[in-house]
Point group: C2
Chain length 317, copies 2
């Protein structure tokens, strides 16, 4: 289990390199939903997503021997970019195993940050197999996308910043993929303010955390069908689930159909670009998923790395 001290230590590591992203608000959104809502704009983070935080904190913790061998990650997107940039900033080699169905701009950006991209089949099993073979052969250190204490502590710095900016808070809504973001943020805000309620949000087609939360054990779903590409993990991580059971109040789902309208609102009214996964937690607030009224809510926009074609579809919908 990680502690708040781990998150404070990660914040020190990240201070010189990560953006302290703003909390954005919209009077129109507040009026529509009847709440006072603050969006943590991690789409404005380096690499366009919160993933930079955890990847940097993890890579920063490696030994000299590990650094000399280089790092490896498997990811369809933002974690790949986070590892690629964090490795470059540390002067290390990075290899990223990316499935064929990854968002094209995420693949290009990963290469742009200097990582070697190794393509694989779309299944999680193939990703892991290819990654294991490369580790066996080259001695790379795996940077896990969510199930790692240093990584979780890094993601948790986003939650600590939310709290430092707002002081008072009734609810925190965060998206759940593998559980890295929500577990880190939950440790941060519950330590800072024990009465805050932490709500994880998934899409209906990728509801493994929702099921796990109800079953009281990690449930792996056979496939994840959703436009929220950052949410296509089939199960949450072990450490993530342990933290979620302790600090997360509920996990809820929204339909994919709520995502494009939320992206359109962000574009038209708030002038920001948000990727489908980044719109999931805000969409839960927009659609009044929990019937909350008159509360002070923070919702994490996890990222903004959306292909132009998908963004155009969202604008047309």
């Amino acid at each position: 289990m990680i502690t708040f001290a781990d998150i404070e230590a990660a914040a020190e590591v990240l201070r010189p390199v990560a953006h302290r992203t703003p909390l954005l608000s919209s009077r129109t959104f507040n009026h529509l939903t009847g709440n006072e809502v603050y969006f943590k704009a991690e789409n404005l983070q380096r690499i366009g997503a919160f993933k930079f935080r955890g990847a940097y904190n993890k890579i920063h913790s490696l030994t000299e021997t590990e650094r000399s061998r280089g790092v490896i990650a498997h990811s369809s997107g933002n974690h790949a970019q986070g590892v690629a940039l964090a490795a470059r900033l540390h002067g290390l080699k990075a290899v990223v195993v990316m499935p064929h169905n990854s968002v094209a701009m995420k693949v290009e950006a990963t290469k742009g940050y200097g990582a070697e991209v190794v393509p694989c089949e779309d299944s999680t099993d193939d990703r892991e197999k290819v990654t294991a073979e490369l580790i066996e052969k080259h001695g790379y250190t795996l940077i896990h996308p969510y199930d790692d204490p240093k990584l979780i502590a890094g993601q948790g710095t986003a939650g600590a910043e939310i709290f430092h900016d707002l002081k008072d808070l009734d609810y925190l809504f965060a998206p759940v993929g593998g559980g890295g973001l929500i577990s880190g943020c939950a440790v941060a805000v519950r330590n800072l303010y024990p009465s805050v309620k932490v709500i994880g949000v998934e899409t209906e087609g990728a509801d493994d955390a929702y099921r796990s939360f109800r079953a009281g054990r990690i449930v792996k779903i056979p496939e994840a069908v959703t436009i929220a590409d950052g949410m296509r993990t089939l199960s949450v991580g072990t450490l993530n689930f342990e933290i979620m059971k302790k600090y997360v109040d509920d996990v809820i789902t929204i339909p994919d159909s709520a995502i494009f309208p939320m992206m359109r609102f962000f574009s038209a009214r708030m002038k920001i670009v948000v990727e489908p996964t980044g719109a999931v937690a805000p969409a839960a607030v927009m659609t009044a998923a929990l019937g909350i009224q008159g509360k002070r809510i923070a919702a994490v926009i996890s990222g903004g790395n959306v292909d132009p074609e998908t963004l155009k579809k969202a604008l047309s919908a």
Copy 2:
């Protein structure tokens, strides 16, 4: 001529109601252009553009009698929204004369802020004629879109904020329509830091200020053909030009073809939505219009109110 004290007074008026918009930067943009560039994100201002500043400051200065009669403006877009919202916040009636070719979302937003919208022909002459008739009939006070000292002082608060955030600055790039923004910002930054160079930017199809600057007198062009709809004024204002002659170092032009790539960069790399006119000053920096290297530059993003169809075209280009 307005003074820096007028801008300081406007800043006090605006403090409780306007957003203090952030200065955004992009390592990639800096690397591409060889400068240290800061974007003043007035697309994140209320109503999605700097125009709220001037309209609010002007309406705030009206007498009780003027307030009781209501205000009127003619505008194809952002000034309309600025006046509509500023009037609503003051509890006044607002009428806005808008040409048929106005951007649809700007018309809708103006109505949304509670203004009465009166359509007119696309020509500036017809706008002014319809407006004059309504003033004659109802006694409304005209809120001019740029040629007004209170309005200029309000727009200048954006320049003052840039300076307060950056302290040191070599260049300020701002778009020029009627000249309200650049004249206000020029007064602000030149008073704060006399050696800063202030550069106005227009598109080639709306180059009246460029011509006026070279002629030493206000030149009116017969028509303005440009996708930058906020720049379709045919000449700058009298007071604006007087200030520009004193404080602006140069006015330059960029082709319309530089606008969509700049909007695409903002969307893909910086995750913000910028309207065509808002991309004009940044595009001048991007295309190295003045061959500047190694300088600290602020460029104003004047607004983000772009129709989804135009944004989709920009993303496709």
